[in-house]
Symmetry: C2
Subunit: 408 residues, 2 copies
């Protein structure tokens, strides 16, 4: 049994139709080829339990929509005998991911197999700039990436923008607030230069968590993904699905009270995790607060450099941050009972110094259930996660419903 007793269908979804059945079967064929391809049509029929003619009709539709390709194979290939082999398209449908960071803009195009094919990144101090200006620049970066992708035969079918801020479940298209950019209630459509390419905004922590899930070799199905850029965010993946919360605010780990009568937080409460494990708090504790003098004004790289060099105040600051993080994560484990915890984003680059104290705190706090130290690990994607997730979001949607693609 999974994490959630998922309702696969609820009465309010309405009656079943032949169309639904066909859509499901298209997904089934596409998933089989994605997981095990190249495959012949007969292989696909054998694996998914549909008849050969049914599979052929589905395959033809998927080829028509550009999701599959069918190529001549030679004998000795993976399909075992000469014939025509199906594979997920390396050309055609693709997803564009964009990211606005506090200090950079990034674009990425992923093909239908989820592979990133185009990367573009520019350093920019975005905090405090007007949303219109930032959005015009990231839009231009996206257009460049799309042009580069087009030269590779890729056609962008959807656009998602990772933002370091809150995106409520409704209304969509709105960045409710992004404190570290200084944004409040920014509707992307109001500022985006081209109405045909307005992306869908999504919280960067959510996209980082999804990227972690989608790109793991052996994904755990239910986990908490912690990420840090200037603030501390977290996202919950439950049974392989992003859990956004009732209004889109789930995963606000940074404001879990870790010291009930502790330091006042900018949010108005006291003793929030961010006051102990947030970037500003760690820099202050390490004696590295403004002005920065580290590599490329990147505070995370600076902390890693000092910690690597054995700088005692930095090591102490990271140890303290790890204990606070462990305390907050203990609450998450008690409530959510995840398979795993992942330190992503900037934390991934500091994992060497954070993991021991986070693990020590979890070992002391999580006592009423089995809990293995290795259930906490650091992300391999780190700070690249969110934009990769943004690009792959479109790909995942197509894989879950190939009829989103124009018919051939």
């Amino acid at each position: 049994m999974g994490a959630v007793e998922r309702a696969k269908w609820r009465p309010e979804d309405g009656p079943a139709s032949q169309q639904d059945m066909r859509r499901r079967n298209l997904v089934l064929v596409l998933a089989a080829v994605a997981a095990q391809g190249p495959l012949s049509r007969a292989d696909v029929a054998g694996r998914i339990g549909l008849t050969r003619p049914a599979v052929s009709s589905l395959v033809d539709e998927l080829i028509g929509r550009g999701a599959l390709t069918e190529a001549e194979t030679t004998s000795g290939g993976r399909v075992g005998r000469p014939g025509r082999a199906l594979a997920v398209s390396r050309q055609g449908p693709a997803g564009l991911g964009l990211e606005i960071g506090v200090a950079h803009l990034t674009a990425c195009v992923a093909d239908l197999r989820g592979e990133p094919r185009v990367w573009r990144r520019v350093e920019r101090a975005n905090a405090g700039r007007s949303p219109g200006q930032v959005l015009a620049e990231v839009s231009a970066l996206g257009a460049e990436a799309e042009a580069e992708a087009a030269a590779l035969g890729l056609r962008v079918e959807g656009r998602v923008l990772a933002v370091p801020g809150v995106v409520a479940n409704a209304p969509r298209g709105l960045v409710e607030r992004a404190p570290n950019l200084g944004w409040h209630a920014v509707r992307l459509a109001d500022h985006w230069p081209d109405p045909d390419t307005v992306p869908e905004p999504e919280n960067e922590a959510n996209l980082g968590a999804l990227a972690e899930y989608w790109n793991a070799e052996q994904p755990v199905e239910t986990f908490v993904h912690v990420s840090a850029e200037a603030g501390i965010g977290a996202a919950l993946v439950i049974d392989g699905q992003l859990f956004r919360g009732a209004r889109g605010f789930a995963g606000e780990l940074g404001h879990i009270p870790v010291q009930p009568e502790g330091a006042p937080c900018a949010c108005g409460a006291r003793g929030c995790l961010e006051q102990y494990a947030g970037e500003a708090a760690v820099l202050r504790e390490a004696g590295l607060a403004q002005p920065l003098s580290g590599p490329a004004d990147d505070p995370v790289a600076l902390l890693a450099e000092r910690a690597g060099a054995g700088h005692a105040p930095t090591l102490r600051a990271l140890d303290r941050a790890g204990h606070a993080l462990g305390l907050a994560l203990a609450s998450a484990v008690e409530l959510i009972d995840p398979d795993g915890l992942v330190l992503g984003g900037a934390y991934a680059e500091l994992a060497e110094w954070l993991l021991p104290s986070v693990r020590a705190e979890l070992a002391v706090r999580v006592t009423v259930r089995p809990w293995a130290a290795e259930a906490l690990r650091s992300s391999a994607l780190g700070r690249r996660g969110p934009v990769l997730g943004a690009a792959q979001m479109t790909v995942r949607r197509i894989m879950a419903d190939p009829t989103r693609l124009p018919a051939g």
Copy 2:
């Protein structure tokens, strides 16, 4: 958008079939009659968007399985004209709920409309007794309830047992531990007298939360339900589904650290919520620890009586418990972003004295999102919730798949 982006179907579920479609449509007809009945066949067809002959075939099957009845109506009835009206059966399929509490055994039979039709309860001090003895007694109580239900024309199709302990996702059928009963790894089938009536165990907090959801007039879809008997449990309902966690341990609110360096807890950690808001802690703080001298040795009733009489130490103890509960619930709100919080179980009877301090703590702690004081409320079901949920579980499963019922 709901709380979880639910995968309605995943490729690993296999290909769609005509059988799946028919099952879905049976559910649709049954749900329409349950929500809006009595209805004629034509009404059902109009409401769910299937043809009249298709609906008639589905209705015939549901009548054959005992899920629906069809009766002559007179003109002026709710269906608007004379004819035959469909309703969900008051006889036939039913669910048996059982509960083992620390101080009682309870049985309840619910009909297919979810209405409890039979209640049986005996007071028993179950802590420390052998599982075999307790299970034999609750089994006998269940048999009596089934006999009484049979006299009403009800036939029990499934049995669920609420226990004050942990039931892991796998293996099923096992109560992993129930500290307040002194149980460890009790497999029900090993002790149940009749192999044909072995119930499925489920954590009482989980069933209480489901009962709250199923019986609310305007249910919120995503909420945290806190219940207390001797310990403190909680359960998460997400998008209308029980969330059990990766291994079945979700909702361990009682061991959230509310004072990192606080009182040692029996679990081995320090400063757990149970040390501040658990029954034993509140009784101790109120000066009402052993020996009890209140109504029927019921510590909750005793606390309510003393608080109602203005007993200052009891009021202070409940105030302190409420603040601790508010602190733990603040973490739950930050992480999960629920629509609501419900104080259930014994807490419901103490709500008058707990709600103000829980709300005060939430108001101070939950600052980065909108949060209304009324989003926290007390359960109307209180201590009856778990056994009602246990009885309704079977009913809900039938409503979600009427082919579970034997064909007529």
